[in-house]
Symmetry: C2
Subunit: 177 residues, 2 copies
DNA sequence: TAGAAAAGAGCACGACCGGTCGCTAAATTC
DNA sequence: GAATTTAGCGACCGGTCGTGCTCTTTTCTA
């Protein structure tokens, strides 16, 4: 990936068919643009991943749909660049400022949502700690999937990730209350 | 992180106390430098993570040491920038060329080593597929650990990763042959 | 110790960087 | 229909980019 810093105004101008100066009628600065990019990416993330699951009732099936959509998002929605959420995280995690803060806020919101989903996986509900541990693993498998597929060229990455996630759901459901 | 592209020759020159042109007596081009960076990073990776485990016999304890060193590597060896292997992977996974090829080769070598380690975790040894699945999860937890700690600000990330890894070892040892 | 070779400094280059300016033309509002 | 806002353009700014060239200084070797 090229990252936010790796895309110049000239690149962008050519891509959208505008002049550099034309772009500045829509954004005050490059950082202003970057903020809009983060917002747009996270909005799209929610639409692609959360929306299809919204209709379902909380529980295992919903989590399975979310996980499937999450892999799909990275694999099909961004076949060239790779998942922009991961890219933004790696690029911004040591760059303090409003941009990182915005991404952090959106990701925390998502995390909170997902922990809630995991709590509802079992009756009686999982403890907060159990749900957090489960989400940690879920997100790990998403990251592992991208790494395996993109960097290691592993065509079975999706299968590996799915198997790991299914096993995670199995043992999380089964765990004693 | 700033990435290879994000570090200019002027930055580097200042950091090492040389002039820009002075640097060119050691490297033919910036790409030549990048190759050396990838080599150096992977050499250091092996030294920090593999070397302390080398003395041990293959098996669970060795894997535990490797995992501990791997987390340590990301957390203590690179407290500011984050794990450079992850950074390089994300930066280069869609940039075909000798640089990506070099990183790919070194990472494949590491993967092969680790899969071998996992096979030796049990007697009778794990199948190739089982060992690959286990390594997929191990690497996922490493990635999850960095993401949780650096982007999400989770101080318990190490604990979460360790718990997940121990559980992985448990059920991998226990699995029927 | 003379001379070669290596390490480094200084400078200049063309290309590109993010950003501003003044202008035009289209759209919107009054 | 006049006035004002908006979208967009090309030219241009000061700076930085990677890199080549020449010259000096250090270091190694015969």
């Amino acid at each position: 990936m090229r990252g936010l810093t790796g895309v110049s105004l000239a690149d962008l101008a050519e891509a959208v068919g505008l002049s550099k100066s034309g772009i500045f009628k829509h954004f005050d600065s490059k950082e202003d643009m970057h903020m809009a990019v983060v917002e747009a990416v996270m909005d799209r993330f929610a639409e692609v991943i959360w929306k299809p699951a919204e209709a379902l009732t909380p529980g295992r099936e919903r989590l399975e749909v979310i996980f499937e959509r999450w892999l799909h998002w990275a694999e099909e929605e961004w076949p060239d660049s790779g998942c922009p959420v991961t890219a933004l995280s790696v690029e911004l995690d040591d760059q303090p400022g409003p941009l990182r803060d915005l991404l952090h806020k959106r990701l925390q919101g998502w995390r909170k949502t997902m922990v809630r989903e995991f709590r509802a996986l079992r009756d009686p509900p999982l403890s907060e700690a159990e749900a957090q541990a489960a989400y940690f693993q879920m997100k790990s498998f998403v990251l592992g999937h991208s790494d395996s597929r993109r960097m290691m060229g592993d065509d079975d990455a999706k299968r590996s990730a799915n198997a790991a996630f299914e096993a995670l759901l199995d043992r999380t459901c089964r765990a004693a209350a």
